[in-house]
Amino acid sequence: MGLTPDELLARLKEAFGERILDSHHHCGDVTVIIARDDALEILRRLRDEPAFAFNFLMDVTAVDYLGQQPRFEVVYHLYSLTHNFRTRAKIRVPEADPWVHSLVPLWKAANWLEREVWDMFGIRFLGHPDLRRILLYEEFVGHPLRKDYPVDKRQPLVPERDPIETGWKFNA
């Protein structure tokens, strides 16, 4: 490990100050909470600035805190190959209009990972070039990893479809 969690957190706070809404470290994982309007720029700086150089977007996921306000958290796990440390960035997203900015302009990995979060949680990623469902099929009703989706819910049968005719577009 390049830095202790305290040192990394201090460096993050020094760079971003008030723009880090909240932060903590738990079990050695550093977490910062950022605003969704600010996220794209902060993450871009985290990727590009040599003090951080978080060149890997390891994971994008979300957690549904049903009953709390705001309801969702979108969670990014970043890893810096140069410095060998990790950090976790979170954006709190309200239920009423669940969206965050897409990170596809920064990392190609964001493409599929964000599609999965859309698929499972119904959180939209603004600026995503191709926000389709990925693990489930287009006709699926609802977003199954939301806490209010019953685990035993049945889905209606869907007619067979021709993927070339529907919903498949090339980007070349």
Partner: protein
């Protein structure tokens, strides 16, 4: 000349060129795994490829929220079912990180040994199947034969070949049987002989070399941007291995090297996996040599089931057992992300606990999901037939990719 086999896209098409749209999969005889490629071809050149995954989706993350923390372990077996022990270890480490506990030293060694055995079985499967699809049937049989030797050992240790569920929070289910270290050593001798045969048959084989070299090139920059890890990343020349960078389960005790490629083509990926098996053997030999005595489970009534004698012999033990089974271990509130080096790359578990006996959220960061997201770009500009070895070298395991 770098990647001379790749056509430069977009092709200069005139009105007479006909673009063919073709769907390959989801059940294609030459691809091992349920996956669909929506292809756009000019003649035999792939000019666009849209990869469709999800055919094996089993709602792992939803199911993990339904039971207690230990009841998730059998689901993790089914993620990467070619190296299930690594999934077990990764999940257990993530929960242990959240609990703030560390397993006994002997347990760490056993977990490392079993993880490395699994890595070898995974690489053998990947290479065996991938080369079989391009015609090297003999090698496939040899590799499956040696995998069998290792799976016999896995069976002797865990009681099952595939659905092993070997780890628990705070330890493993049972100690190594007394004859297993010798059996592992015997299997390694046999494995080395087979690998040497495979090496002679394949590595300098003209047909194989021509099919693999300069095909499916992934640059280091693209690999990092795609979040690709593991042998695929290292074949592109980036030195990142979780076992070295952020050692877990005692990997810092072992002396091993990380094989790196230069070009990031299929041949480099083949060599990386092949050499990694030799490094895994080194780790196993060192771990068997230094294997300490002691318990394989933590004695911590908060998370670990008491020994049966205590359950049947005392009321405290019985209550402890009952509470752990019925309510589950009370993992403290919080969240943790733990990465382990899976056979295909960084296998991460992000666990969130609300303090009850059940996981609030279990997220898997599946390495081959990210590898598959890069595949669409890796096959563009190459021939249709090159999809098969490129896909084989990505080593998609449906259970892990689609969860």
């Amino acid at each position: 000349m770098p990647s001379s086999k790749r056509a430069v896209l977009p092709l200069d098409l005139d009105a007479t060129d006909e673009i063919m749209e073709i769907q390959m999969g989801p059940s294609h005889p030459a691809s091992h795994g349920t996956i669909k490629f929506n292809l756009k071809l000019d003649g035999e050149v792939v000019i666009d490829c849209d990869v469709e995954v999800g055919y094996l989706h089993r709602a792992f993350e939803k199911m993990a929220e339904q039971g207690t923390w230990n009841q998730v372990v059998p689901y993790t077996d089914r993620l990467n079912y070619v190296s299930p022990l690594i999934n077990n270890v990764g999940y257990a480490l993530a929960v242990e990180k959240l609990c703030g506990i560390r397993v006994p030293e002997r347990c760490e060694y056993i977990r490392a040994i079993m993880s490395e055995i699994s890595r070898i079985t995974d690489h053998l499967t990947c290479l065996g199947m991938a080369v079989q699809e391009i015609g090297a049937q003999t090698v496939a049989f040899l590799m499956i034969e040696s995998r069998e030797l290792l799976w016999d050992i896995v069976e002797a240790v865990t009681g099952a070949r595939l659905t092993i569920s070997y780890t628990r929070i705070g330890g493993v289910t049972n100690d190594l049987p007394p004859d297993v270290p010798d059996r592992i050593r015997a299997a390694i001798v046999h494995l080395n002989a087979i690998l040497s045969d495979c090496d002679k048959l394949l590595t300098r084989n003209r047909i194989f070399y021509d099919r693999m070299v300069d095909v499916g090139v992934l640059t280091a920059e693209d690999a990092i941007s795609h979040g690709v890890t593991g042998p695929m990343l290292r074949a592109s020349g980036v030195n990142y291995d979780v076992r070295k960078a952020q050692p877990y389960s005692g990997y810092d005790r072992f002396d091993f090297s990380v094989p790196l490629g230069t070009k990031g083509d299929n041949y480099d990926r083949y060599l990386c996996r092949f050499n990694e098996m030799e490094q895994s053997v080194r780790i196993i030999e060192q771990a068997l040599r230094d294997l300490p005595d002691g318990p394989v489970r933590l004695d911590d009534p908060r998370f670990v089931l008491p020994p049966k004698q205590r359950v049947y012999g005392s009321i405290e033990g019985l209550m402890n057992h009952f509470k752990l089974i019925m309510e589950g271990a009370k993992v403290p509130r919080g969240e943790a992300y733990q990465a382990v080096e899976g056979a295909n790359g960084e296998l991460g578990f992000y666990v969130v606990s609300d303090g009850s006996g059940r996981p609030y959220r279990v997220r898997v960061r599946p390495p081959c999901f990210l590898g598959m997201s890069a595949l669409g770009e890796m096959v563009k500009g190459y021939m249709l037939a090159d999809i098969i070895p490129t896909f084989g070298m990505v080593n998609m395991i449906g259970g892990e990719c689609d969860r």
